[in-house]
């Protein structure tokens, strides 16, 4: 048995709920509100028939409209590709070195290339393209194989030192640990350090210069400025792919390095290769 209470002023029954002496009146709801509730229930039933809703043992009911988020995404991507078809066609047939002269196409290529880069390249080169030890920084002005748009496109398409693409850029540095004496290695390391670091042992570096001329200059050049035709890095500049300290350099000379990049030709569309190349070219080091 509940005890009914009535509000004195209005004569309306209260719910008995009391907040700081204020009681809630139990006024009837408007009837249209009830209709609205029924309407929402009917709507909900129709909705669960039309759209995926009821959980089954595996999956859920599909709904008579056949609506699905996956299909929507596919349709949106197709619509997007469709709306950009003209730009894509232009990009695929564009003369890449003169691309910046067409601001709209250039902007599209760089925006598209940024997306391609973030999903395919950032795993090694970093989301900001700053690289990491062994993975080149693409923001600076130093290139192993060349930084003009044609060379970047070639590198993206065929990759480096991979076994998948016969046209991949290839070179291999010998592991000098089997060729040189430890003292010779110490000397050549000191010589390489002396090229970019003012603090070095002059006598040792002088001895190293001879070792360098005999063993390294074939690829790296007599002045150690590198050779892009075989991906030999410039050893006289401030940029080091693996590190410019003596210990790292000794490791590099002794065991060599063999950085690999996969070919993206088989994996990316032509427009994507061109776009990502344009993007990399626009990051600050493009030649």
């Amino acid at each position: 048995m509940t005890k009914r209470k009535t509000d004195e002023v209005t004569g309306v029954e209260t719910t008995g709920h009391n907040w700081d002496g204020i009681e809630e009146l139990n006024n009837p709801l408007p009837r249209w509100w009830l209709w609205t509730l029924y309407l929402t229930i009917i709507w909900a039933i129709g909705y669960t028939i039309a759209y995926p809703a009821w959980p089954m043992i595996s999956g859920a009911t599909k709904g008579v409209l056949g609506w699905s988020t996956r299909a929507n995404v596919a349709a949106e991507i197709a619509a997007h590709e469709g709306s950009n078809a003209a730009l894509v066609a232009q990009l695929v047939s564009a003369d890449m070195p003169t691309l910046p002269q067409d601001p709209d196409l250039n902007r599209y290529a760089i925006a598209r290339g940024g997306a391609v880069f973030r999903s395919n390249c950032s795993q090694c080169h970093g989301s900001g393209a700053a690289g990491a030890k062994g993975y080149p920084n693409l923001l600076d002005d130093d290139w192993l194989w060349g930084g003009d748009i044609a060379q970047i496109m070639y590198t993206v398409r065929h990759g480096i030192r991979n076994t998948i693409d016969a046209d991949a850029l290839y070179s291999a540095m010998p592991a000098f640990g089997d060729i040189l004496e430890p003292a010779e290695i110490d000397a050549v390391v000191e010589h390489v350090v002396s090229l970019s670091n003012p603090e070095f042992d002059a006598a040792l570096a002088e001895a190293g210069a001879v070792v360098f001329a005999d063993n390294c200059s074939v690829c790296h050049g007599e002045a150690a400025l590198g050779d892009r035709t075989m991906g030999a890095p410039n050893l006289a500049d401030a940029i080091w792919l693996y590190g410019g300290d003596r210990e790292t350099l000794r490791y590099t000379v002794e065991f060599s390095r063999f950085g690999v990049m996969p070919p993206w030709g088989p994996r990316l569309k032509e427009a994507d290769i061109r776009a990502v190349s344009a993007y990399v070219h626009s990051l600050g080091g493009g030649e």
Binding site: P30, L34, N106, G126, A130, L139, D140, D141, S282
Partner: protein, 517 residues
């Protein structure tokens, strides 16, 4: 245990048939309706010449291009704070008016009130005044009733379509859209919007009416917190009207004589503010027996129900302040009309401050209007409103035609170049808000030696087309060994100058050296 019957769980709406009324406030409301509806329907059709590349609609919310045009003002998405500021001003303005004058928003300018008023006008025009509509409501569904009802619904529907139709014109070029709507070339979103707004206007204005205010709108419940005894609101002078009774009508001569005496007395006192101030010296006796012979002891209210019959909310203002009351003031007009007929001063129902009750009961003059309105609360609301308003105006007038935003690229924090130089990268957005293409020259200033260069440009000039933003990658480089390159961070300022107009803009940012973390 209880003798009370169960409360019904649901109640049907009680139909309301407001009677036609004439008077000062009714006329005022017709004007307000004409002005507000006029603004709503006509604004999209105003033209404003902005040059060839920009739309010529005076008020246009261009969602597709993310621009808002208001006469000579053009708002870009990053300036949305203007809209936010206007909304804050609207809110503060509502607080101000509510605390000073009660629910004037509800009573005069709320779209629900205005359109319901318009729908009632149509209803009265087709089906007749209150009594005719009451009869029609109770009548069986004859051909006559069908004819009137269907005519009314058709007119309502036309108004509703025009209402929904006017809304979409704010979002695209109105003349083009009007043509496209008729040739069925318009965007589906336009038709859907019109359909939804037509439905809501038709249902809210035609059928739900006061239910919207009572059950759907939160504002009536919030406003009580903003009103106090000094708020001017529509109220019944029960100290003057009670005890009410049909017998309160005196013979006209006696009434007029009494009125003349009162007016003479009031003129002598000189302080009566309300045109119909209460009887000086009259006190409400504690429920005296109704005696026609001693009519002096009765109040002015003759219980004619005029105030109830004209009320669009279906309430009795004589019961005091109610949440349902939207203060439309039509009961004032209705009661004034009756008071004039029976030879009593107007204002038995009137705009008044409840704090004046004690003064009026004792026969003293009520406080003047300005003393009710000028209160710390209203002054504070006005000050806040002005503060926001002046701030927005200031922001509006210092806006430059050219702008830049600088996002330093912090991934990585800096780049070392082959010669040991240290480079920082900045994504700079250059904004040209004018109608002409411009050439912007970039530059930088700093206490350290820094060089600036632009991606893809041989010079420091960037061409920014009219009404667009261009993203330019900017490189700032410090020579190897310089303080900026080897140190922590260096302050710098990036400048952009419109060479043709001698306008400059700048943004401060920082340069990271090798020591920066």
């Amino acid at each position: 245990m209880t003798s009370q019957p169960d409360q019904p769980l649901y109640a049907a709406r009680t139909p309301i048939f407001p009677r036609r009324v004439n008077g000062f406030f009714r006329r005022f409301k017709w004007w307000i309706m004409a002005v507000t509806l006029g603004i709503y329907y006509l604004t999209p059709w105003l033209r404003w010449d902005r040059g060839a590349s920009l739309p010529d609609q005076a008020v246009l919310i261009d969602l597709a291009n993310r621009r808002f045009y208001f006469l000579w003002i053009e708002i870009w998405p990053h300036e949305f704070y203007f809209v936010a500021g206007l909304l804050i001003m609207a809110g503060l303005g509502l607080f101000l008016f509510t605390s000073a004058l009660g629910r004037v928003w509800c009573g005069y300018t709320c779209p629900q009130t205005v359109w319901t008023d318009l729908f009632l006008l149509v209803e009265r025009w087709i089906e007749g005044d209150r009594n005719a509509r009451l009869r029609l409501h109770k009548a069986n569904w004859s051909l006559h009733k069908w004819r009137l009802r269907v005519t009314k619904w058709i007119v309502w529907l036309l108004i509703a379509v025009a209402t929904g139709g006017a809304w979409v014109f704010y979002f695209t070029d109105a003349p083009t859209l009007l043509r496209d709507l008729f040739t069925l070339d318009a965007n589906p979103a336009a038709y859907i919007t019109i359909a939804i707004l037509t439905a809501t206007t038709f249902i809210f204005g035609g059928f739900l009416r006061e239910q919207v205010c009572i059950y759907m709108c939160p504002w009536p419940r919030i406003q009580a917190a903003m009103m106090d005894p000094d708020t001017i609101t529509v109220a019944y002078r029960d100290w003057r009207g009670e005890p009410r009774g049909k017998g309160n009508v005196k013979n006209r001569k006696a009434a007029e004589a009494e009125r003349a005496a009162i007016e003479a007395q009031a003129a002598g006192a000189g302080a009566a503010f309300y045109p119909g101030t209460p009887y000086p010296g009259q006190k409400t006796p504690p429920a005296p027996p109704l005696d026609l012979a001693t009519s002096d002891e009765k109040g002015d209210c003759i219980d004619c129900m005029a105030c109830v019959n004209v009320c669009p909310m279906g309430i009795d203002i004589r019961n005091g302040q109610q949440m349902e009351c939207i203060t439309c003031a039509l009961c004032i007009d209705a009661c004034d009309d009756v008071m004039a007929r029976i030879g009593k001063p107007r204002g038995l129902i009137d705009y008044l401050a409840l704090s004046d009750e004690a003064d009026e009961r004792s026969g003293a003059a009520p406080k003047p209007l300005w003393r009710h309105v000028m209160r710390p609360r209203t002054i504070l609301y006005t000050a806040m409103w002005l503060l926001v308003g002046v701030g927005l105006l200031y922001a509006l007038f210092i806006r430059s035609e050219i702008e830049l935003t600088v996002s330093p690229v912090r991934n990585p924090t800096f780049v070392v170049l082959s010669d040991g130089d240290v480079r920082n990268i900045y994504d700079v957005r250059l904004r040209n808000k004018s109608g002409d293409d411009k050439v912007f020259q970039m530059n930088l200033s700093s206490e350290e030696i820094l060089r600036i260069s632009l991606e893809g440009q041989d010079t420091l000039n960037v061409t920014v087309p009219a009404d667009t933003t261009v993203l330019q990658r900017v490189y700032v480089t410090a020579r190897a060994g310089d303080t900026a390159a080897t140190g922590d961070t260096t302050d710098l300022r990036l400048w952009v100058e419109d060479l043709s107009a001698q306008v400059r803009a700048s943004k401060a940012t920082t340069f990271n050296g090798r020591d920066a973390q």
